[in-house]
Symmetry: C2
Subunit: 189 residues, 2 copies
DNA sequence: TGCGCTTTTTGCCAAATGGCAAGTGCAAGC
DNA sequence: GCTTGCACTTGCCATTTGGCAAAAAGCGCA
């Protein structure tokens, strides 16, 4: 829980009462490897904070290929804004890559905090936009880089992740085939 | 100005007085082709709404190559959130690809609207997150697609843009060389 | 331990893309 | 009409990456 408080306090100040209120709205959730936190076609009505483990976001392309679009690692929030803000079904899956522990808010509680905690929606705004900006900043350069550079940047961005993720997921995230990633790894050694 | 009002009203309701107040804070700005709306190293303290023309966001890679990261077309906002929200210098340029007409807010006025118009910061939040989510949704698939598919998706996403943008900028945006884009165009014909 | 399954590595060849340089086309200015 | 500059196209060849299949390695489980 302390880790979650530390995360929140990046985005504004909260007194102990407020932190306690926030904590009282969370439910612990354990996901086994390969279990889904969110399935495509469903409306996400919750917000998760990942205490331990790795999640991935994936979808199926028109050609039917499964594509891993993003990884979520410890101490980050995960939700589907389409569901949370607009009540729309998610086109993507959120799946546990390893066993995971999360703290989960129901949408209702998450939204209600805005009425109880002054500045809460401001903080949520900052979390959302920081999160989106960081994703964008990581993905944008990938378009103009070759596969080896993309892999090395991934290692820089997520040093603690590479050895916990199956090669096939990582290859898909990098936009290359598993064979190519395997060869790239060999060349780097 | 009506186009700008229509844009704003996507994100919440505003009465005529409020619209008039907002309008009174804008300054028209004309940019000639190739002029900069924002230069790397500077702190952006304004928000622009593009009435006419095309802008691009670009930067220089470590290798010194100029890379076009994004295009902004009519009826969209442009700013640098690092400057606006955190007072940080922009690492990127915002340059006019064609002659442009904009409406511009000074940061001070933009922020002040939050005190005068109930729900303004909420609206700004929605604009920001919608904008970021859309960019992300367009860029993400590009990583896993081949160059031809990326080009065709670009045509779908920005049908009115392709013929107004120099081939070299578009190639850079797509992460390929101008020669390759030229060949792709030939193959599609 | 040994079996069956999945994941990763490797080899072989084809296709896509890059690098570079020369050629073409078009528009502005003289 | 000619020249000049710039953007785009094309040709040639090297490199990267993909597709496919087989081999090897890892892993759970009886």
């Amino acid at each position: 829980m302390d880790e979650f408080f530390a995360y929140l306090l990046q985005f504004g100040s909260l007194n102990p009462q407020q932190l306690a209120l926030i904590a009282s709205k969370t439910t612990p959730l354990v996901l086994s490897k390969d279990a889904y936190f969110l399935e495509a076609g469903h409306v996400s009505r919750r917000v998760g904070f990942l205490l331990e483990g790795v999640l991935r976001i994936c979808y199926y392309s028109k050609q039917g290929d499964e594509i891993t679009r993003n990884f979520i690692d410890e101490m980050h929030l995960t939700t589907d804004l389409r569901g949370l803000e607009y009540g729309l079904a998610s086109p993507e899956y959120v799946q546990a890559v390893t066993d995971c522990r999360l703290l989960v808010f129901a949408k209702h509680d998450w939204d209600e905090l805005a009425h109880t905690i002054v500045g809460w929606s401001e903080m949520v705004h900052k979390m959302t936009s920081k999160h989106l900006r960081e994703k964008l900043a990581r993905i944008s350069p990938m378009v103009s880089q070759d596969a080896t550079t993309r892999y090395q940047e991934f290692l820089d961005n997520y040093p603690q992740l590479a050895n916990r993720i199956p090669l096939s997921y990582l290859a898909s995230f990098l936009g290359i085939t598993p064979s190519s990633l395997s060869r790239i790894r060999k060349n780097i050694r």
